[in-house]
């Protein structure tokens, strides 16, 4: 029997080691995401993992954050998200350059999670923030970027994923004018996604208001067919705030239509965002076969005020691990294991790399069977030994070795 591993040598609850090929898929996906971010002009930033606890105000995030104390006995948090640290960074560091600030990041975040709920305490978020512009074109721009990223990674809108778009100001605006006394209770219930409680509160209101209070958060449907917007328009009526929110949504959808991003967009007037800081358009991405959001974002025009710079802003964050879990399977990257302790082997490895072939040089004299086993353990498709004027090449899953030229070897491995 193997000796029992001491508990302190395992990873802590909710964290894990990520091994190939999963780690390769994760970092490949990250690289492709960041490439799309750059294509849209977003520049990467890195913020510290530790922040003063005062930086994060959102109660749910504060509660879920890991906390520790610095030498001055100040409370610190491991960042539970990146949007608020970016807001802090913009307010502190960028006030002398002209807005808007278009920033991106891909960083791990940390949250205490209920043990047994299958959630991670550490996961990667890749996201963008466009700070300093209230234009609906910026909302649409970030949404279009998110759709672009998902498409680039091989997900089909409407089939593999849906982007659910809401407008936090619509229902809030309606309630503030039609049922001001009940507004905060209704919004709190909706934030908990408790439509039953929304109904219960509605029964204390005037019948015509009550019906709208019940029906607005249940307005859900594809953005491409205009009926949801039309129905929302009827509820907005004379209400200025709700009408303005709806107008904003119309503008966003126009921009999205212009770039062909309307497929896979669902409208949901019951979506008001998981954090209190959302003030306008909010959205979440769901992938078929996954019960959790893959990405979420929205407009947060009041967050920067806390840091002394009242700037409007919008952005989103993708949960990279969840994204990778729904990506279509891909062939493993080509790799050849070159076996041999000789100088000749070292030179051959370098020559092969020079022609673009990924080579793992195993500087041992290993017999073919063992070399093939090793190659399979590192997901390499090929094994080769140096030979005069070329290599002796064999497939890692068996097959007769063949002496081929370096060009021929490169051709086979990369094909």
């Amino acid at each position: 029997m193997r000796e029992k591993t001491p508990r302190k040598f395992s990873t802590t609850p909710g964290t894990r080691d990520v091994l190939p090929p999963e780690s390769t898929r994760l970092l490949d996906a990250q690289a492709r995401v960041l490439e799309r971010f750059r294509l849209h002009g977003f520049r990467e930033i890195v913020t510290p993992a530790l922040e003063y606890s005062e930086v994060i105000e959102e109660p749910k995030l504060r509660d879920s954050a890991f906390k520790l104390f610095d030498p001055d006995n100040q409370m610190l948090l491991l960042r539970p998200e990146v949007t608020t640290p970016v807001a802090r960074l913009v307010a502190q560091r960028l006030r002398n350059s002209p807005p808007p600030y278009k920033l991106s990041y891909s960083l791990p975040v940390y949250r205490r999670t209920g043990v047994g709920r299958g959630q991670s305490a550490e996961f990667r978020q890749a996201g963008v923030e466009a700070v300093g512009s209230a234009s609906p074109g910026e909302d649409a721009g970030t949404i279009a970027l998110l759709v672009d990223v998902l498409r680039t990674l091989g997900l089909r809108p409407g089939t593999d994923f849906a982007l659910v778009l809401g407008q936090a100001a619509f229902y809030r605006g309606y309630l503030n004018s039609a049922a001001p006394g009940a507004a905060s209770g209704v919004l709190a219930a909706l934030a908990d996604k408790d439509l039953v409680r929304v109904d219960e509160i509605s029964y204390t209101l005037q019948p015509e208001v009550a019906a709208s209070v019940r029906e607005i958060p249940r307005l859900v449907g594809p953005a491409a067919d205009g009926s949801v917007l039309e129905r929302a328009g009827r509820y907005a009526g004379e209400n200025e705030e709700a009408a303005a929110a709806l107008e904003n949504l119309h503008r966003i959808l126009e921009h999205l239509q212009a770039v062909g991003c309307l497929d896979g967009v669902m409208l949901d007037f019951g979506l008001i965002g998981r954090h209190d800081y959302y003030t306008g358009a909010v959205y979440e991405v769901y992938a078929s076969g996954l019960g959790f959001t893959v990405a979420n974002g929205g407009r947060y025009d009041n967050l920067l005020r806390r840091f002394g710079e009242p700037l409007p802003a919008t952005g989103f964050a993708i949960s990279l691990e969840r994204l990778v879990s729904v990506l279509p399977d891909e062939e493993p990257a080509p790799l050849v294991v070159l076996v041999g302790a000789s100088v000749e082997a070292t030179r051959t490895a370098a020559d092969l790399r020079g022609s673009g072939v990924p080579v793992l040089h195993l500087a041992e004299d290993l017999p073919p069977a063992q070399a093939a086993e090793y190659a399979r353990s590192v997901d390499a498709g090929w094994v080769c030994y140096p030979a005069p004027d070329g290599v002796k090449l064999a497939a890692a899953d068996g097959g007769e070795p063949e002496i081929v030229s370096l060009e021929e070897c490169a051709g086979r491995v990369l094909s």
Binding site: R117, K193, V220, G221, T293
Partner: protein, 215 residues
Amino acid sequence: MRGLRVAVPKGAIFEDALAALEAAGLPVGVLREDGRKLLYRAEGAEFIVSRPSDVPVFVEHGAADIGIVGKDVLDEQRPNVVELRDLGTGACQMVLAAPRNKVEEVQRAISHAEVVRVGTKFPNVARRYFEGMGRQAEVIELHGSVELAPLVGLAECIVDLTATGTTLRENDLVVMDDISSSTARLIANRGSYRLRHREVAALVEAMQRNGNRVG
């Protein structure tokens, strides 16, 4: 695409849940045929049968698209799911109860903000109840026969669910306070609610239309 997958709770609200789903036009007949299976496939829907407290877990993770579960379980677990409809069935009360001869003692302890020991299957509900009153409690989590705890001195009082009060009476326990009331709820996974909104909305509407006759 497969039909909606529905999580149905075993036990007290099983029949009520079936009636509600049947009213919504789902082929629940298969569930009555063989009581031992865990997963049932029927035309246009799949059913899983689980412990009530596991229903929100299946739904939150998207392993089931929708489910039926008591509000008491939702209050305890606070899962991230959409709560769509109150089925009005399976009504029961979450109560604070103590043995008849201990009621005054417990009442005094609570009013003096002394620490009372509470046995319960609903530790989060119990904790929030006492915190909400600004009172202190030592919560002892149990998984069954909570009524036993005060009889043998494990706890001074209990926080538990009661429908008719029979079990409490049989054990000579008296209700000291009503904490909340609970009925069966229809819940949905957040993703399924959006990605399969047409099906889910049709189901809710059919329940609303036909359910009142059943309930």
